[in-house]
């Protein structure tokens, strides 16, 4: 609804500076829900924390994992959250009451698990040193389907030695990242050898495969529309692809093409990228840098670098772009804080005084003909009331408010006193190699619930705190 009044649309559509830093334990991954009002973060200790972005406070804590949380995925309705951890376990949480809705165990640590975009009873998981799985949990028992990482070889005449060699090779070929397409009918998978596979979710067969990178594919992201694919690989190049429409009636696997659109890389510094993300509309691509503090933002249309975001003096890990705002969340690798970059709109002063207008240059005031006419009060009043013959509609909801105003959608219940419910600890580097445990009361108290900081102030506070400790 505020869109009716604000002219925030005039603002730039990529984040500018740090507006918030929130912390609960040591976060390793984050994910926004579809509506963009909640942010889930997974911690090193296996706790999943749900943040309310409106209050920048903790909305819920979910305990069930014992190892580092590696990936998070929200259901479309925002009620279910899938979390995967290194402890061979995937949990689907019901946020209505914070219980474990389903729990699925695997035989290996999990790289990532993603929920089907439309059904929360189906997900795909990529596993460490194992073939990826498609899991159906509609029924009480979960059904796991193993997905292939390598396309079936055409049945050509080959001697057994070659075939064995190939089989061995194929067995070492693993999938490292797997995601659904927008419709959920297909899966996109990246492999250790830099191949991109398209898997039909129904037949569970690879219908298209192509080598797109020279090294391991680490991250796959897709835009909301499902038309663009973002690939991060260890060869220091971020690539974007156009995804063809895979849900057409008579899809011929042989005609599928995945045209490469852009390659983003820093050829000067030879940087590797920790994590990548699409902006809300796919217009921008953001990446966190390996062994470096900056976040890079490219414009996808021209493929040009538009911004290097400076943040705290810390390497950033997982980054996430808000589903419809110019807002970026990133996890600091060292401290496990979640840093949030966004844009701040300036106060319009004319909003405070309705008879004032903001003008570019001086305007000579020309009084109206009847400006100083004196009318009897009653007459003015009468005229005013007579003018009020317009039809007003106080009931019909127009969609001026953007996304977040569906009254019937799921709401996360409000819980009290989450901050106190466990000890919040943070490890900070005191000096090289020495780590010191830091409890929340130590510095700016009650930090676990998040605090707001002015852009430049952040660094100053941190240094002061550190200095004190020595």
């Amino acid at each position: 609804m505020n869109l009716l009044l604000s002219d925030d649309y005039l603002l730039q559509d990529y984040p500018e500076n740090i507006t918030n830093t929130i912390r609960s334990g040591h976060s390793t991954c984050v994910r926004f829900n579809r509506k963009g009002d909640y942010l889930a973060s997974g911690r090193v200790d296996g706790t999943v924390v749900i943040w309310d972005l409106e209050t920048m406070g903790v909305a819920r804590k979910l305990r069930g994992h014992s190892k580092n949380v590696t990936s998070l995925s929200w259901s479309r309705c925002g009620r279910y959250l899938l979390s995967a951890c290194q402890g061979w376990k995937v949990i689907l949480w019901d946020l209505q009451d914070g219980t474990r809705y389903r729990e699925v165990r695997f035989h290996a640590p999990i790289y990532g698990a993603e929920l089907h975009p439309w059904h929360h009873h189906q997900f795909a998981a990529s596993l460490y040193e194992e073939q990826p799985m498609l899991v159906d949990i509609t029924d009480a028992g979960d059904i796991k389907y193993v997905l292939p990482s390598v396309q079936k070889r055409p049945n050509t005449e080959m001697d057994t030695a070659t075939r064995e060699k190939q089989a061995k090779e194929d067995a070492r070929h693993m999938t490292t990242a797997i995601i659904y397409t927008a419709t959920g009918d297909h899966l996109l998978a990246g492999t250790t050898k830099g191949r991109l596979n398209i898997i039909d979710a129904r037949t569970r067969e690879i219908i298209y495969s192509e080598k797109i990178a020279t090294s391991v594919v680490t991250t796959l992201r897709i835009t909301e529309s499902g038309k663009e694919l973002l690939v991060n690989a260890q060869d220091r190049i971020i690539r974007t692809f156009h995804v063809p429409n895979l849900s057409v009636e008579d899809l011929d696997p042989d005609t599928i093409q995945m045209p490469l659109e852009h390659k983003f890389q820093d050829v000067v510094n030879r940087l590797s990228w920790n994590h990548v993300a699409f902006s809300a509309s796919g217009e921008y691509v953001a990446a966190s840098t390996y062994n470096n503090h900056e976040l890079y933002i490219w414009e996808r249309g021209h493929g040009s670098l538009v911004r290097m975001l400076e943040g705290p003096k810390e390497e950033q890990g997982v980054i996430e772009w808000h589903p419809h705002k110019a807002l970026l969340a990133a996890c600091g690798l060292e401290t496990g804080r979640i840093n949030i970059w966004s844009v701040t709109s300036p106060q319009r002063w004319s909003a405070l005084a309705p008879d004032f207008a903001e003008v570019e240059e001086n305007v000579e005031y020309i009084e109206k003909e009847d400006e100083f006419d004196i009318h009897p009060q009653e007459e003015i009043q009468k005229r005013r009331l007579d003018q009020e013959d317009e039809d007003v509609d106080v009931l019909t909801v127009t969609n001026g408010g953007g996304l977040g105003d569906d009254v019937n959608s799921f709401r996360v219940p409000i819980l009290f006193n989450l901050g106190e419910s466990d000890s919040e600890e943070e490890f900070v580097n005191v000096s090289l190699g020495t780590v010191r445990r830091k409890s929340p009361g130590d510095e700016d108290g009650g930090e676990a619930t998040g605090e707001e900081k002015a852009p430049g102030k952040k660094g100053a506070v941190a240094t002061r705190g550190r200095g004190k400790r020595r």
């Binding site: 505020n2 604000s6 709109s345 013959d389 509609d393 909801v397 408010g401 009254v407 009650g446 619930t449």
Partner: protein
């Protein structure tokens, strides 16, 4: 401000109100004593809402009058501050009698110089004892205007004679016909606010006796009494889940309560440890059960838990965001605070007004907050950035005492002390409708939108308001006509009205709460509908069609099951609409 204070020799009452006003930027705001910014004599008057009414508590009367007089003498000399150009007339003479100031309003109406004369005029008007005649003349003009409008129903009720319920013969497709059902007694002082919970099952009332009470909306049974505030209560708000409520008091604190256990919701801090400890670490639901057991001990005692502290003066109005995660509060310290409900933490403080903040509301999607003040301004804020997006001022600049969003969030309804309720289109900044016919000259009275829907699809959106003569007045939103007047619902002043579908509840100076219910489609003694009437009121029929489009956005929800569940939970879309209004 309550009888607690004046009767019990509470320090609040004995302390003379200082003449100094809190200045935002002087940095020593905390040093202002308890009555710090209680500068406005106007508010002094409306404050008496929460003083025990004369009839009920004799001891309270002299004290309150005393204070009021003191305010009067102190005000004109009190130094004012000007924060922005819009507040230039910093010394606002509320004192002088009306007539001279009235002539001032006839002075040249240049947009630049307009402010100060109108402003002083309006404020003096609201204080004047003779303004009755003025409001009458206004109703004159109103009635004539109504007859000139072609769309209105031919039988325009004569507001001048202020006749009882207009619909002797059912001339409108749908007419509210609320009838007194239950009277709830229990409060020992005037009741400043009463609100029906979003699910319609409960009623919460905030009283000057320092307590809030929860009632069953059906039976009228007093479910619980919330004791803990040190002074009279000015406001109460329901969380959208109907399980939590917030109260604001003259002790400057806001308290959150669990509806089920009647215990403070924030059971942390000192009080929390007092009875949270030794519960072998049970949390959540289990812990609540434990509280239940201990309730007898904690109730009444001041062991309570941590309230939301931060306001420097009386907390005067409260509103929950539609999600229930943010609580907005307005105070006599002229600021609007946004609280993180979960953590009980002050999230944002908005230097909102130059007078006490008298009303506050959230729009349906929670992105906007509207606040109003006796400085005559209505301000719309962006919840997420805390920026002021729009300021609405009426030309006459009457003090605004209460404000709420329309059910769809596109309009703002503002109650002001010139006995008018205005419907603002906040985007264009224009008044769309003015509702008159009630009396509101010195008190913060309240009301809300109501929506009646019949099984046959007819529906009526109306505005309900309390009136200082003890009546409750209901207007058709579109025609501005009074569709029902519940006469003498309360002895003395009726302070607050809340509507939830077919239920209407009111509270007043007499310390009672009245529940009214809408008596079906056919008003008693009314003629059955006839074709002619329907034709005349085709406008409303048209509206009904439009309202049909409110149906929840059935966007392709993947999780059918969830969707169904939620719908079951929330009831019909109509009910949802009404729920919105209560926020």
């Amino acid at each position: 401000m309550s009888e607690l204070e004046s009767a019990g020799g509470h320090p609040l009452a004995e302390q003379p109100p200082p003449k100094r006003r809190r200045v935002h930027n002087d940095g020593n705001a905390e040093s202002v004593p308890r009555h710090g910014s209680l500068d406005a004599p106007l508010r002094g008057q409306s404050l008496s809402i929460r003083r025990a009414p004369k009839g009920l508590k004799e001891t309270a009367t002299p004290g309150s009058d005393d204070t009021r007089n003191r305010y009067r003498s102190s005000t004109p000399s009190s130094p004012r501050r000007s924060r922005s150009r819009s507040q230039i007339p910093t010394t606002r003479p509320r004192q002088p009698p009306r007539s001279p100031m009235y002539s001032a309003s006839q002075s040249p109406r240049s947009p630049r110089s307009r402010r100060s004369p109108t402003r002083s005029r309006s404020s003096s008007e609201s204080r004047s004892s003779t303004s009755g005649s003025r409001s009458r003349s206004r109703t004159h003009s109103r009635s004539s205007s109504s007859s000139s409008s072609a769309r209105r129903s031919p039988r325009s009720p004569d507001p001048e004679s202020q006749l009882p319920p207009p619909p002797p013969s059912a001339r409108q497709p749908l007419t509210p016909h609320y009838q007194k059902r239950v009277a709830l007694r229990g409060h020992t002082a005037a009741i400043s606010q009463v609100r029906i919970s979003p699910d319609g099952r409960w009623i919460a009332s905030a009283s000057a006796d320092g307590t809030a009470k929860i009632w069953d909306a059906q039976t009228g049974e007093n479910i619980d009494t919330l004791v803990g505030h040190m002074a009279g209560l000015s406001c109460v708000a329901w969380a959208p889940d109907s399980n939590c409520l917030a109260t604001g008091s003259d002790d400057k604190a806001i308290r959150l309560w669990d509806r089920v256990t009647a215990d403070p919701a924030h059971a942390c801090g000192d009080g929390g440890r007092a009875y949270g400890a030794g519960e072998d670490g049970k949390r959540g639901r289990a812990a609540k059960v434990d509280y239940r057991r201990k309730k007898a001990e904690t109730r009444g005692g001041m062991t309570g838990s941590r309230p939301l502290l931060g306001h420097h003066n009386y907390v005067y109005c409260l509103a929950f965001s539609p999600k229930g995660n943010i609580l907005a509060s307005g105070s006599y310290d002229e600021a609007v605070f946004l609280w993180d409900v979960r953590a009980g933490r002050l999230m944002r403080s908005l230097p909102a007004h130059s007078d006490p903040v008298s009303g506050i509301d959230f729009c349906r999607d929670g992105t906007l907050v509207v606040s109003c003040s006796t400085d005559g301004l209505i301000r719309i804020w962006d919840t997420s950035t805390g920026q002021c997006l729009r300021t609405l001022v009426h030309e006459d600049n009457p003090a605004v005492t209460n404000v709420c969003f329309s059910p769809n969030g596109r309009f703002v309804l503002a109650f002001s002390l010139d006995s008018s309720i205005r419907l603002w289109d906040y985007v264009s900044g224009a008044v769309k409708k003015t509702y008159q016919g009630h009396k509101n000259e010195g008190f913060s009275i309240g009301g809300c939108f109501g929506l009646l829907t019949e099984a046959d699809g007819r529906s009526l959106a109306f505005v309900a308001s309390a009136s200082e003569d003890g009546d409750i007045v209901l207007w058709d939103v579109i025609t501005k006509q009074i569709v029902q007047r519940l006469e003498k619902a309360h002895k003395g002043i009726c302070f607050w009205v809340d509507v939830h579908g077919g239920a209407l509840v009111s509270a007043g100076q007499d310390g009672t709460i009245e529940i009214f219910s809408h008596a079906g489609a056919l008003p008693e003694g009314g003629e059955p509908m006839n074709g002619v009437v329907r034709e005349v009121n085709g406008v409303n029929g048209h509206d009904a069609v439009r309202e049909g489009s409110i149906t929840p956005n059935a966007a392709a929800m993947a999780d059918d099951e969830l969707q169904r569940q939620i719908e079951e939970d929330a009831g019909s879309p109509m009910l949802l609409q009404v729920k919105e209004e209560q926020l």
